[in-house]
Amino acid sequence: MSEALSLPTAPVDPPTPTPARRSLATIASGLANASVWTRLGLALGAYAVCLGLFSLVVWSQGANPTGVITTIFNSALVDNGSIDQILLRAVPIVLAALAVSVPARAGLVNVGGEGGLIIGAIAATGTALYIVGPGVSSVVALPLMALAGIAAGALWSAIAAVLRVFVNANEAVTTLLLNFIANDILLYLLYQPWKAPGGTGQPQSKPLSANTTLPHIFGNTLNLGVIIALVAALGVYLLLTRTSWGFALRVVGGNQRAASRAGLPVKRLMISSMAVGGGLAGLGGMLYLAGTQLQLLPGGTATFGYIAFLAAFLGRHNPLGVTLAALLFSAIAISAPGLQLNYGLDGNVVDILLALAVAAPLAISASRKKAF
């Protein structure tokens, strides 16, 4: 408690929590510029350490670290067509990251982005293949699929919120367990009832018919999903900053007891924030299915949900920051095939870089109070 009292109100990062250094940092916070420089120095230092660690891993596998980092940089920014790939890959990551950030406002830790993406994709596939059929106009079919994805994702995530509110089951743990269950449901559907007949060993659903896939925009690689994801990010930003619901969530996240004394429906707010998050993830699953995959595949979401969780933390749960972080992570993620091809590295090597990118700010986060 005494520690909390001695903290300066500005979000300063003392280099180490020893008393002498802390008082130095307190002095530094008085000089606004000094604290900015300290923070910048710490951040640069932390990222340098991370790049060093990554290089070490790469080097231990017999690959040239500078070559690998250049390849990642090139595939993210320079290579032809890579911008398109980044944007397409970012669609599910942005939406699943927003799914983390909305409940985070209410103080909930939603690690269920992965499950939300999977359940959304399942609901959209079911709607496309078994309800809509090939004869219906896409103006009707696509919104129906999107609604199915949103509703399924919202209900799925709401399970964890209901368990938190009524039986006090920690939502970080329940959302993680639900992810594994969602994946098993996906595999069950793909290996049995929805398995495309005459397929090879790889289980997959029938491909979506043309009326149930997203239309292309700006040429023939990008699709409507990119626009929808950006609109959703903007929508979430407005929802959180310009509506009373968004304000109420922040109050609940800041001090639950005060919120309930002030007459806010805390339980309903917590559940609704989780449902909105789940709906966003479900939409992400539907957009990735109908825009990029075009049929339901096992492991189709390929840990996007977890990458999104990291992006949400890097973006400090601010919708615009989260979107930028998701784009950055998408850019890093698409370099995996190149690294596999040119250096013989396992594609998951990019996960190391993504984790380190988030570990760096966490490691320098000493005594920072929550941003909201």
Binding site: S2, A4, T16, P17, V57, Q61, G107, L108, V109, V111, L163, V167, N168, A169, N170, A172, V173, T174, L176, L177, L178, N179, F180, I181, D184, I185, L187, Y188, Y191, Q192, G253, N255, Q256, T303, Y306, F309, L310, F313, L345, D346, G347, N348, V349, V350, D351, I352, L353, L354, A355, L356, V358, A359, L362, A363, I364, S365, A366, S367, R368, K370
Partner: protein, 303 residues
């Protein structure tokens, strides 16, 4: 041997995979720190154990390597959350993700290696008890060590001064500091011991239970271990029961498959997670007032 006995036998074997990390997580949570990176500690332990066993030819060197790997990962977590005050849930998940990447890269060359697994040793005398002997006393030695460990953890927590300081660090670290101890050091030690035990769980998985290494082989078991601690309301004996409940769910799935029961394999695979979730729903409510105060602050995201 009938199906039920078979389920119980491999339930104990599989439950041990969860029991070690769950006991470790219990120690950490009693000190006020939750480690979702338990999954990462297990995964690192599983690979380190397998790699060391494949290289040296001894599964026991593997177990030691697994302990070291799990301890190392949890030490990073402890440093981040205790010294750097990072968000506990986020730090654990970030480390898990880091370990997924690291183990896929470093483990790629061990996918096709072969190890001599931990030996199955039937306990003399106890092992000849009918039925019960087969279920409890015909396993690898790590299983027997876990029986002792449950008692040791209980004794340490409730009957020693170290246990008192540990529990106090999880409730009111300020009080421990006023009493002239260093709660931060207690917490770091507790989390690191916890990760070391999670590493043994990973070793039991890779060189004791399935005898192979593949990407992401812990498959969420570390998260289940965290859930077990929550619904066992931080009691060592209930952690034992919860771990075997999971082990039986895991074993039931494979026994039913082996008996060609006409249920889809993937629905059965969901069984352990579902059982854990149901147990959490049934028992989590009881946790409320018994949650270590420091832990409650971390779990409920309030400060």
């Amino acid at each position: 041997m009938n199906g039920i006995e078979q389920t119980l036998i491999s339930g104990v074997e599989g439950g041990t995979i969860i029991l070690y990390p769950a006991l470790g997580e219990l120690i950490g949570e009693r000190a006020g720190i939750v480690n979702l990176g338990t999954e990462g500690c297990m995964l690192a332990g599983a690979l380190a154990a397998y790699a060391a066993a494949a290289t040296t030819g001894s599964a026991w060197v593997g177990v030691l390597a697994g302990m070291a790997a799990g301890g190392l990962v949890s030490l990073v977590h402890a440093w981040m959350v205790v010294k750097r005050k990072a968000d506990q849930l986020a730090s654990g998940l970030v480390l898990w993700f880091l370990v997924i990447g690291l183990t896929s890269v470093l483990g790629a060359s061990f996918v096709s290696s072969i190890v001599t697994p931990l030996p199955i040793v039937r306990v003399p005398l106890l092992g000849s008890i009918p039925w019960l002997g087969d279920i409890l006393f015909d396993h690898d030695p790590l299983v027997y060590a876990s029986y002792v460990l449950v008692g040791a953890v209980w004794w340490m927590l409730y009957r020693t001064r170290a246990g008192l300081v540990l529990r106090a660090s999880g409730e009111r670290p300020e009080v421990v500091a006023v009493a002239g101890r260093r709660p931060d050091r207690v917490q770091i030690a507790a989390v690191t011991i916890g990760g070391t035990l999670a590493g043994i769980g990973g070793a039991q998985l890779s060189v004791g239970y399935v005898d192979s290494w593949f990407d992401n082989m812990t498959n969420g078991y570390g998260f289940i271990a965290v859930a077990v601690v929550l619904f066992a309301v931080w009691r060592p004996l209930l952690v034992l029961a919860g771990s075997y409940l999971f082990g039986i769910a895991l074993a039931a799935a494979s026994v039913l498959q082996a008996h060609n029961v006409a249920i889809n394999q993937y629905l059965l695979d969901a069984l352990p997670y579902l059982v854990t979730l149901v147990a959490l729903v049934a028992f989590a409510r009881r946790g409320g007032a018994r949650t270590p105060e420091g832990l409650a602050r971390a779990l409920n995201n309030t400060s």
